[in-house]
């Protein structure tokens, strides 16, 4: 047993796991929800209800109780929208990129990451809708034929948002779904009752033919190729909501890459959070192993550094550019009434990730849980700090105003977490949150392919002769 733990600490996955065990482990996670699960569902529904109640109130009364006012027309709604959009970038983009690079350690974790993408996108989608003053007319943003010859204004970045988010939602749902079809077939073969019918329908007759696999491989690759530029474009367009405006602090050329990196960052942090939670609650220790966590953390750290750099470069270019209103906004971020949040964002976003430089922390789920949550708090603050200070300070000093969100706004933001949580909770019980067939592939390949992980070699070297026999790369036929 000691040997096994040792192995699990160095290898992405234990290649000795039997395929049947993978199936049973994952299928088990989908059944027999425990008390804790129902509790989580109830909590999520309660949170969602707070949001729904706030929205119903807002629908009837107007945007006023949200404390929105003349300069502060957007505030939390749009910042939380950007936050959720950002969250959505983790799964799909990471999954697609890592897929293209054949980084097979993505396999045990990409499914829930993609689900997270889809659900955070569905959460994000709510915000541009409910932030509308006249929600009941939201369909006017959609380009449909009307005999009055009226179309949406295609020049508006908000319309680009509508296009981009629709495309992205379609794409990520397809990507998630296509990747899940073989697993749905497994579920179908093991289910009874309504689940049987559901999985039979959803697995669209997957039998694991070579023809199906061949098309599947190609399709999955093509989808990944589409999704990478799409994901980048989506967040660039979200950035364009701000960058295309002329407001100081928004009209920044580096916003699109800044947003994309921020999105990846918050997505990675969220993956860590969910990783730890799923690993703990579903006892996925064998699949969501510490080395994978370690790799995810390294990736997060790298992205955090990119994000921090883009942050600094933004400050530098504002300072260097000497555009007074933009400079005022920057100074106000550091010294004004919003400074606690701004400094909090810098701490959470740029300082805290340095903890991920330590291997001990990277492999300590209990520590990573709070850290990753704080990273995301930092990323939420980042979005708030993009929206609010610029609105409070722009060209016309007469309209400068500092404003704090009202209860309706908080209620809806709070509710969005419940909505996301609820979707995710339903997902993990209805769909396999670990890709069974790909873990099988991973195990299969690890068994056969000569293990060339330099890290492992080094590790072996350090260990010396003591445990050499068992540490040799496993070969076939064991």
């Amino acid at each position: 047993m000691a040997e096994e733990t040792h192995l699990s600490a160095t290898k992405d996955i234990d290649e000795k796991i039997a395929w049947a065990e993978i199936n049973s482990d994952v299928l088990r996670s989908m059944e027999n929800p425990r008390m804790g699960y129902w509790l989580a569902v109830v909590v999520s529904i309660c949170m969602l209800m707070v949001g729904v109640a706030s929205e119903v109130y807002q629908y009837n009364v107007g945007m006023g109780p949200a404390q929105l006012n003349n300069p502060h027309m957007w505030d939390l709604y749009i910042s939380t929208f950007v936050f959720w959009i950002g969250m959505s970038h983790s799964g799909t983009l990471l999954s697609a990129i890592l897929h293209l690079f054949h980084a097979d350690w993505r396999k045990p974790i990409y499914r829930f990451a993609e689900a997270m993408t889809t659900f955070s996108l569905m959460t994000a989608l709510v915000f541009p809708i409910i932030h509308l003053g006249r929600v009941w007319n939201m369909h006017w943003v959609i380009p449909y034929y009307s005999d009055r010859g009226i179309w949406p204004n295609f020049r508006s970045p908000l319309v680009w948002d509508a296009f981009a988010i629709t495309t992205y939602l379609t794409g990520s749902v397809l990507f998630l779904y296509i990747g899940m079809i073989p697993d749905l077939a497994i579920c179908r073969d093991n289910a009874i009752g309504w689940r049987k019918r559901l999985y039979t329908f959803m697995s669209v007759g997957w039998r694991g033919d070579d023809r199906q696999w061949r098309n599947f491989r190609k399709t999955y690759l093509l989808m990944a190729c589409f999704l990478i530029p799409l994901a980048v474009s989506v967040h660039s367009i979200v950035a364009a909501d701000f960058a295309m405006a002329i407001m100081p602090g928004w009209h920044v050329t580096s916003f699109p890459p800044y947003f994309v990196s921020g999105a990846l960052y918050s997505g990675c942090a969220a993956i860590i959070t969910l990783f730890v939670l799923l690993r703990y609650f579903f006892k996925f220790e064998q699949y969501m192993t510490l080395p994978i966590l370690d790799k995810t953390c390294k990736l997060t750290f790298a992205i955090a550094m990119v994000w921090s750099y883009l942050n600094l470069i933004e400050f530098a270019s504002v300072w260097y550019g000497h555009d007074i209103p933009a400079k005022e906004v920057l100074i106000a971020k550091f010294t004004g009434p919003y400074s606690p949040f701004f400094l909090g964002m810098l701490f959470c976003g740029s300082v805290l990730p340095f903890t991920l430089a330590f291997e001990k922390i990277r492999r300590n789920p209990m520590l990573l849980l709070p850290i990753s949550i704080f990273l995301n708090v930092g990323m939420w603050l980042e979005r708030y700090m993009i929206v609010a200070p610029t609105l409070s300070l722009a060209y016309h000093p007469w309209s400068w105003d500092v404003m704090w969100p009202g209860w309706v706004e908080w209620g809806i933001v709070f509710g969005s977490f419940g909505w996301f949580g609820l979707l995710f909770l339903i997902f993990v019980k209805v769909f396999p949150s670990v890709s069974m067939y790909e873990v099988k592939e991973m195990v299969y390949h690890r068994r056969r392919v000569v293990y060339e992980d330099a890290e492992l070699r080094a590790h072996e070297y350090k260990k010396g002769a003591s445990g050499a026999s068992s540490a040799a790369p496993a070969t076939e036929g064991s």
Binding site: I324, E328, Y395, H396, P397, W398, S399, W400, D401
Partner: protein, 742 residues
């Protein structure tokens, strides 16, 4: 603007028909839309009135009664409702322009807190009554059978003129009384008295447009002083062209006019006259101006106020005084004005006198101060109000000399300082009748409350106290049917009261409209030719269409009776180191507009505060009190305490705390009630010796921080432009170089 494009003759006809409809209909149900007790009834346009074109607005001329200036207005009427007021271009006074109070006349008219039924006090509380009961009660108390006569009866009104004034006087005469108290907090009585005494005319024409320099001692001629809209147009001409005039304003706290001054001087309150004499001293002694026009006594006095003494008393730097004097000499003709802050002191008369003396020294008489002459029909002339009538009224009421008082157009219980003790004295009067549109403080204490038609529902004629150029009678005609059938015209009431006293004397007249028509007809050469019997209807219609009737001006030259009394500057009481200034503003005015939501939400011109009271203090004072903007301070005078949030700016003298008047209503409808504080209440006793006007600016106060943050709701969150080019400024020199031709 919806331009009416139908025939002129039709239009005149419309005017006439409308007039008849509005008056003959009297208290009948309005023909189109009526709103009675919240129920709205829309009668479809099956058979609209002949002159009503659905969807087309028609303009009717009338007169604005929002302040005593009596500007001409035109109301846009559509589907029987008046929608918008504009200035009447035919009016020489305001030439088509209107101020915010005038614009808001609509909300006085449509105010949801209007009185709609007569009220009679029963068992200590006002209860609804019928008009018959109310009038019967009035007849019982003041009719011929009541035995009331002589000085036991009084009217207390605001500024009143025209035929209402004639009927009111007739009513007083019928009772054998001469007690007509005319109360107006914001007034120019001291100025009028000085002009009357020194020039022989109380209201000379002030040619701001002709002046090259205006030195104003607290005369807020763009905001509240005399006839602000008229002066604003003059001011625009004064400011344009190569002769762009220079405006210097010296006052304790910045008024709207001060905010537009080239040079604004913070003056210690009460030293306006000292500054004027100091300037005269510099002009005579340094600038060698010819002082032969001045009497010897005045010269002697002037010589006492050398630069150093003036500087010491007023707090103005000596070089600045000399510079202002030099400008005054160079920029001739100039004009020196003295307004409320100069007049509102124990020695107010002398201060205004000193300002007038400066005008004489500078040779402005007949240049920028033109003889105006008296109004051709003195019985119609404006009876200008003042605060001295308030104290006289308080004395009379306190001494139990009054048995019955009628009130109209004034709210003395709101405006009277605590020291007059007016509320108790008022309650001691046995019979008080309020002719009122609103349940204001005075109305709430009345025994009989008669709901009046609004200014836009009523007939009347008005004569401005200050006539801009041509003398004219301003005609007030209804712009729509009365909203509430339960209200009655003030003119009709005056007629009824007169008939009550002298039955039969007004028999031939159906109502006030008829009275007006015949009264105007009796003015020679207006409606009738030399020997015509009948009234020329088209001439009458033309008057109504113009809203103005031009009167011949009998210009009378000034008579000169120069005198000069010494200044009466009081020293500070160390216990009350600050001066309390109750600022008049052209927003809520003296408080009468506090029930208008537009004006409550219209940011104050200086502080930009809405919906509340505030105290203006200088940053130095704020530092002493350790308060920041919005913190609540107490303003204490021996007569009371106010708690009010502060607004800090440099447009105020260091030793002054300014609290605007207008708020602090205990009653007066939903928009006014319980909002802010009323600085008039805590003013100290004291009045100008010559005119008896209350020394509104003469109170001393102590300030203390409460440590609480208050609610100061302001529009805008910045005080400066933060280096942006928002309002750019160039020097007058540059402007004169480039804009010679316009």
């Amino acid at each position: 603007m919806s331009k009416i494009e139908f025939d002129r003759r039709d239009f005149l006809k419309v005017m006439g028909v409308s007039g008849v409809a509005a008056t003959v209909a009297g208290c009948d149900m309005p023909s189109y839309i009526t709103s009675e007790e919240g129920a709205e009834e829309v009668i479809p346009y099956l058979s609209p009135e002949e002159f009503v074109i659905p969807g087309v607005g028609v303009h009717y001329a009338s007169t604005c009664l929002q302040c005593p200036a009596t500007c001409g207005i035109r109301g846009r009427v559509r589907e029987g409702r008046v929608l918008k007021l504009e200035g009447n271009p035919k009016s020489a006074l305001n030439t088509g322009k209107l101020c915010q109070m005038g614009q808001a006349g609509l909300q006085t008219h449509y105010n949801p807190d209007r009185l709609t039924k007569p009220l009679v006090r029963k068992d200590g509380a006002l209860a609804e009554a019928t008009w018959e009961d109310a009038l019967a009660l009035i007849e019982e108390k003041t009719g011929p059978s009541s035995g009331l006569s002589g000085g036991r009866f009084a009217w207390l009104t605001g500024t009143i003129s025209g035929h209402q004034s004639v009927l009111l006087k007739a009513h007083l005469e019928s009772l054998g009384s001469s007690s007509h108290f005319v109360h107006e907090v914001i007034n120019t009585r001291v100025w009028q008295a000085v002009c009357q005494d020194m020039l022989g005319q109380s209201m000379p024409r002030l040619r701001i447009d002709k002046a090259k320099m205006v030195l104003s001692f607290g005369a807020d001629f763009l905001g509240t002083w005399m006839s602000p809209i008229h002066f604003s147009a003059d001011y625009a001409r004064f400011r344009s062209g190569e002769d762009r005039g220079m405006l210097v304003q010296a006052e304790p706290s910045m008024s709207l006019t001060g905010a537009n001054a080239d040079l604004w001087v913070a003056l210690r309150p009460g030293t306006e006259g000292v500054m004027a004499l100091g300037l005269a001293n510099v002009l005579i002694n340094k600038e060698r101006m010819d002082a032969s026009a001045l009497p010897a006594a005045a010269l002697e006095l002037i010589n006492q106020y050398g630069v150093s003494r003036t500087t010491k008393m007023t707090g103005i730097a000596g070089d600045r005084l000399i510079r202002i004097a030099r400008h005054l000499k160079e920029r001739s003709p100039s004009l020196v004005l003295a307004g409320a802050s100069a007049a509102g002191h124990v020695g107010g008369y002398q201060s205004v006198q000193a300002a007038m003396l400066l005008n004489i020294l500078l040779g402005n008489i007949d240049q920028t101060i033109e003889a105006s002459g008296d109004f051709a029909l003195p019985q119609l002339a404006s009876v200008s109000g003042g605060t001295s009538d308030l104290s006289r009224f308080a004395d009379a009421a306190g001494a139990g000399k009054l048995d019955a008082v009628f009130f109209d157009g004034s709210n003395p219980l709101f405006a009277a300082p605590n020291h007059l003790g007016l509320t108790e004295k008022f309650d001691s009067i046995p019979f008080k009748v309020a002719f009122s549109q609103f349940m204001d403080e005075t109305t709430a204490h009345a025994d009989v409350v008669l709901p009046m038609a609004s200014a836009l529902e009523d007939w009347g004629t008005h004569v401005a106290a200050y006539q801009g150029g041509d003398h004219e009678i301003a005609f007030q005609q209804p712009l729509m049917e009365p909203i509430y059938p339960g209200t009655r015209s003030f003119g009709d009431m005056l007629l009824a009261l007169n008939s009550m006293r002298n039955p039969g004397s007004y028999d031939g007249l159906e109502d006030y409209y008829g009275y007006l028509q015949s009264a105007v007809g009796s003015i020679p050469g207006v409606l009738k030719g030399e020997d015509d019997e009948a009234i020329n209807v088209s001439a009458w219609n033309r008057i109504l269409q113009d809203g103005r009737l031009q009167m011949p001006v009998d210009t009378r030259a000034f008579t000169s009776n120069l005198s000069m009394d010494d200044m009466d500057v009081r020293d500070a009481d160390p216990a009350f180191p600050y001066y309390l200034v109750p600022t008049p503003r052209g927003t809520l005015y003296d408080g009468r507009h506090a029930n208008i939501p537009w004006l409550q939400e219209s940011p104050d011109q200086i502080s930009k505060v809405v919906w509340n009271s505030w105290a203006e203090i200088h940053p130095v004072t704020a530092a002493k009190l350790a308060v920041e903007e919005g913190d609540v301070i107490t303003v204490t005078t021996p007569d009371g305490v106010l708690e009010v949030p502060v607004y800090i700016h440099k447009g105020i003298h260091v030793d002054v705390v300014a609290v605007p008047m207008g708020q602090g209503h205990e009653d007066y409808g939903r928009y006014a009630r319980g909002r802010g504080v009323n600085p008039l209440k805590i003013l100290q006793p004291g009045s100008d010796a010559k005119t008896g006007e209350l020394a509104l600016y003469g109170s001393r106060a102590a300030l203390a921080a409460t440590g609480r943050a208050g609610r100061l709701i302001k529009m805008g969150n910045t005080e400066t432009q933060h280096g942006r080019k928002i309002v750019a400024t160039i020097t007058a020199e540059q402007q004169r170089r480039n804009e010679g031709d316009s």
